[in-house]
Symmetry: C2
Subunit: 328 residues, 2 copies
């Protein structure tokens, strides 16, 4: 019997989940839940219910794992605890600083319902977190670095769009090659934000807007741009659509560390991702963890879990014997 999955929220991530489920024949999409009017939503899979979010409890016994596709700012802090009372859930909560309080709320709810709730799944937090953990456990005398990009930062793009006179914008975060090379060399450099990443902005301005004022406002924006070397390009709406409509991303987790009688040997562990579609890759990670979530629930576990708690074999549809034979 297939794993019955629900999607809660149908934006870029929800559509990515829908695509990823088709690539995993042991899983099936049962229903999509939305806060919009369901009749206005056209989804990509035939014969799947599209329901209003308020109807979700009716699906309590028809869905094995609910995948939450809302945002971390306001959606998930409310939705994950609420849904974890009735469903095994997976979310991609990515506000690093607020993860501990999110865990506390989700854990209480999941225990109340006897469910497993897997939070902060994706690539960062997610696959990158795992690689920081593995590398740190293996090389205790060392230092790890995370670089992001080249890729589109939704938050930074939004910040530019809020500037007066800006019609649209895309911001790319780009790791600095020299910093990557310094890290790989094993010298364990101390790097400022500016030394690690540059920011490149493609901006569509309103006709007659003061371009130099817009550029200045971008470059001096605190937190977002002031601490980085930022380049601003003004382009047409057509060019933005033609060349910058994708959502690529990626990055690097690198740890260097030393071993030996006098710590004379250096080692470099590097994990990197190069992704054509950030939401679709995030969705692919989440779907694998949805499988693990259900398996942990069936083994009697309850409460809030993270990628750190999941035995890797639980992610795969293959049997333990096959995994050992083919991959170990």
């Amino acid at each position: 019997m297939k794993i019955r999955v629900g999607i809660f929220g149908y934006g870029n991530l929800g559509r990515g989940i829908e695509c990823a489920l088709r690539q995993n024949p042991d899983m099936e999409l049962v229903a999509v839940f939305t806060r919009r009017d369901p009749s206005t939503l056209s989804i990509g899979t035939p014969n799947v219910a599209v329901c209003h979010a308020s109807e979700v409890e009716q699906y309590k016994n028809r869905i094995d794992v609910m995948i939450l596709c809302g945002g971390s700012a306001t959606d998930l802090p409310e939705q994950t605890p609420e849904l974890a009372k009735n469903f095994c859930v997976v979310d991609s909560f990515d506000t690093h600083a607020r993860i501990p309080e999110h865990i506390a709320r989700v854990d209480a709810a999941a225990r109340e319902g006897g469910k497993v709730a897997m939070i902060s799944v994706g690539w960062d937090p997610g696959m990158f977190s795992l690689n920081r953990l593995y590398a740190g456990a293996v090389l205790p005398d060392g230092k790890d670095y995370t670089f992001w990009g080249k890729g589109v930062s939704q938050g930074h793009s939004d910040a530019i769009r809020r500037i007066e006179g800006v019609l649209d914008a895309k911001q790319y975060t780009i790791p600095v090659d020299a910093a990557l090379e310094a890290v790989r060399s094993g010298v364990c450099p101390e790097l400022t934000a500016r030394q690690k990443h540059t920011r490149e902005c493609f901006v569509v301005a309103a006709e007659g807007a003061d371009l130099s004022r817009i550029e200045k406002e971008i470059k001096e924006m605190p937190n977002y741009f002031a601490d980085y070397d930022t380049t601003v390009h003004f382009i047409s709406a057509e060019e933005l659509k033609r060349n910058h409509s994708g959502i690529p991303h990626g990055g690097f987790v690198i740890r260097t560390g030393k071993t030996g009688r006098s710590l004379e040997h250096n080692h470099v562990i590097e994990y990197s991702l190069k992704l054509d579609s950030n939401p679709e890759f995030t969705a692919s990670v989440i779907v694998a963890y949805a499988r693990a979530t259900l398996r942990m629930h069936r083994e009697g576990m309850v409460g809030c879990k993270t990628v750190f708690d999941v035995p890797p074999a639980y992610l795969s549809p293959k049997t333990r014997e096959t995994l050992i034979k083919e991959l170990l």
Copy 2:
């Protein structure tokens, strides 16, 4: 109370374990076991017992985890099941084709003794296996590739040394850059052994030996060299010692895969290692898994386990809360 560790076998790997334990303050070395005369063995840690292998049972209640440092050909197939009856054990059994039968024997012994036995730990099998598993679970429509090197292959070096007229030799396995690039591009090439790796040999020949005959014997040696482009350099014993006495290694696990409504998006997951010392890095991985092995034992688990079965958090001495706060 510290985790009490024993080392069974004191070659390159055993010495690596000894060094790694010093980098992990929650662990302590209790005893080294050898099949040689213990009085002939000088180890690097003061106040640690050096015992004959036959005395090992006397340490049954004084050692939490025994780390086996013998070879996969003849040592581990006997030693791991034997020791798993009395100790939680970790080994680095790396004969891929014989892992299933090794697991069966070790599992029976470990269950008999109520112990956990972790097998095939290191970087391949080990960290590379984990990366093949994670990447395959996340990107089901894709293909993975493992490249080894640049690094010293002990087996290939030994094979050259068995040729008449050869006094000493070191063989480097080198991944082919063009093959790496083709894989990263996402075209999923079919690659022969020759297309993936080249082999470079540094050979010290006996005075008056027939160099062209030695070179021919190396290059035509079935399984080891015949399927590869092989380069042979004859050098002096001094040069071999000066430039080729290290044991570096490393490699790459790369998976490319597709997602999207029409599988239109490509993704590249790459994990790489660049290691100054193969045995010391292997030892560092093993020591982290020794910690996990004991934790699984204390939670009541029994039997033979692999890296696929271990929740990542178990590898770290840090608390779950700290891991979540610092690394998730």
